[in-house]
Symmetry: C2
């Protein structure tokens, strides 16, 4: 193995972790890879802030060309995040024949296929383990040890912020808004939390996971996406009573003729391993045709866990067989049809606030029956002021039938509002 000479772009949280590992554990890394693993350069616009790690004089600059134009640097670690200018830097590095390691889910979800083509052309590679599941080596497992499997299902808790919020809501009984504030105070959620709570972050990650697991190219825009902002403490409590935990899932199901891809909150049976993933942890549940059920669990974010995955990718550059990997099957050309959400089958939890008057329940039941929605469980609780709450769990039903039923129910004069519509279980009605 040739030596690995590294340039790190982006000296933020994860960058600091990577630099710490490369500087402090260098002899261990070199013993394990059998080659020199040298951090030569760090580039960041901010060259003055103390990051709590002592960097040799001259290593940190604000000039990107000190990495991109340095022929000795053969491995570029991109950790600035976001689409631009990361895309430009990655393209330039690959075009110069440098291997690229990145934790940037957005740029990989959007341009992974193009990057893979550039890498192939210039005899180098792009790896991005840290982009999905932080420290959890899920992409490497899918590419390597699990590659004897046809992967049938991938269900991930891939966003720590939403898992933290939903877990906290479940523990404390607090509502979404309150818990979001707590998450922001603790640094688990950003000032503008949209990217996490609306599911956009999870959608990028699912695009990457599904591309590798199902060996096709997924456009992240084709993934159905629904956030957690409407989940209320009442929903969490009702889920709990029915034996479920509410989790934000990124889900891929590999059908014969198409794939299902969706990001939305799910009521997960408490006995399922995904239900027990608490705090800001991530977990990816994989079902393979030989493997059966399996799950990888760990820290999805944070300085050192994410850095562990980045440096793991650097190590894997030394361990892997370039001739095998140069065939790079990531973002393969296989065309797979992505199912419309309207054609997906799941069970639903519905919570309606209705007038406490005779006949309302019958009307709702009739509308469900007309739309072929079969009811699995139902509960009516009468409140004080002439209103009642009806909660319903349905059997699996095609989404479009549910939507049409809900539209009719919403139109009933005795229905004040449909307070919640949450999918229950994973939905696996085969096509």
């Amino acid at each position: 193995m040739a030596d690995i000479v590294v340039g790190v772009i982006g000296f933020g949280t994860v960058g600091t972790g990577v630099v710490k590992i490369l500087l402090n554990n260098r002899s261990m890394l070199e013993q394990r890879t059998g080659c020199r693993v040298e951090l030569k350069r760090i580039v960041d616009l901010d060259t003055t802030t103390d990051r709590g790690v002592s960097v040799p004089n001259g290593m940190l600059t604000d000039t990107i060309s000190t990495i991109l134009d340095d022929n000795e640097i053969n491995t570029v670690v991109e950790l600035i995040g976001g689409e631009n200018p990361a895309k430009k830097f990655i393209e330039a590095a690959l075009t110069a024949g440098k291997n690229v390691i990145t934790s940037n889910k957005e740029v990989i979800a959007k341009h992974g296929k193009a990057f893979t083509a550039i890498a192939k052309k210039h005899g180098c590679t792009i790896l991005y383990e840290a982009a999905v599941g932080g420290g959890i080596p899920v992409l490497h497992a899918i590419r390597n040890s699990l590659s004897a499997n046809k992967i049938e299902k991938v269900f991930g808790i891939v966003n720590g912020t939403t898992n933290f919020i939903l877990s906290k809501m479940s523990e404390t009984g607090a509502d979404f808004g309150e818990t979001l504030k707590e998450a922001q105070a603790l640094g688990y959620a950003e000032a503008n939390p949209e990217n996490d709570v609306e599911g956009y972050d999870a959608r990028y990650k699912l695009a990457i996971l599904a591309s590798l697991a199902f060996r096709c190219t997924v456009n992240y825009k084709d993934i159905y996406c629904e956030g957690i902002t409407n989940i209320s403490s009442e929903d969490i409590e009702a889920a709990n009573q029915f034996g479920y935990a509410i989790k934000m899932l990124a889900m891929g199901i590999n059908h014969k003729d198409a794939i299902q891809l969706r990001v939305h909150p799910v009521m997960v049976e408490k006995e399922h391993p995904l239900a027990t993933v608490g705090d800001a942890f991530n977990a990816i549940y994989i079902q393979g045709d030989s493997l059966g059920e399996s799950m990888l669990y760990g820290r999805g974010a944070g300085e050192l866990p994410t850095a562990s995955a980045v440096v793991g990718d650097i190590m894997n550059l030394a361990f892997r067989n370039d001739s095998a990997f140069s065939r790079d099957t990531d973002f393969a050309l296989n065309e797979r049809k992505i199912m419309s959400i309207n054609d997906c089958f799941t069970s639903f939890f519905i919570r309606c606030i209705v007038d406490d008057a005779p006949g309302v329940l019958a009307k709702i039941a009739n509308i469900f029956a007309k739309n072929e929605v079969s009811i699995q469980g139902l509960q009516q609780i009468d409140a004080d002021a002439g209103t009642a709450t009806i909660t319903i769990i349905t059997h699996q039903v095609k989404e479009e039938k549910m939507r049409s039923a809900l539209k009719e129910i919403e139109g009933l004069s005795s229905v004040q509002k449909i307070a919640s519509v949450i999918r229950v279980g994973f939905g696996d009605e085969t096509l």
Copy 2:
């Protein structure tokens, strides 16, 4: 990558799974590796039983030389299990320069280091992912993606039989003997269950896990080992009341100057991810200095899950960089001191059956105090016939102090018997 031409020794449960995958998924395997992946020969003493897979004429023989003496076969899959004659076949294959893949934990725990040396000498490799955790790619993860970490702790539920029995006991309230019979009827336990229920199987697996995770050579005989045959339904119930699940764990802790290795039942806090691993599932919890906490979960046994790991190893032969792997750091020469169980610190759960007489509790408390055992929780339940049950949970204490206390307590005339001694939590008092 050169072509992979496979000979399978042992056409039992896992062998059948491997043959199914190699024959039925051949085109997928070849697409993914970019090379020919051909099953050429299967050897088993029984060449007549129908295994439910159609094998080409002449592929199955009872003659081991048709594999070992065939120069075209470069990859030998050993699936007969046990020490002999597996050892002889593996040595012969490696000496002939053939790569070896095995699921045989006993032969690897006993001879892994010698095999690694032979492989190195003859320019080939031995891989044994399926030996630990069945379909869970834990060894590959430790060797590759997690290799930027110093692994601090490895705690595994690595024996499906004991996890099935303990999980069932917890669900049904039945006792050990009864549940063992059920496990035997279901095929989860063997007619002679000793290897599983006494922890010998888990001990082999911990020797392998620890050798890789802590980069040293572990003699399995040096691992403290205690089975689950003394766990009663009363223990399970008491654990439940205190907020614990009883799990059979294989535990490794990497201290600065030594390593702790032990296999025994543990009361695990219900909130810990290991506590929720039910049925015959396996899980390996890993704590790394960068990674933090992580867990890999899946099926630890069975035809196809184990075969998935075996074929995954075959795939990894194609994916890996031989020059990096020929340094083979498995079973490294690093000498690590293994701590005596007497020097380990853990909390304990103790259940004593005593005479229902004044002063018994005081005597027990005095003995604990004298031996520096600090009590965390205590419960006395008076029974009918002049006897009482005292359950105690202690703070962390050095094992030898606990043993000396227990010996004294056992000697008290008012103590009828010490019914249970179970370690609580993982014990992580640093040296």
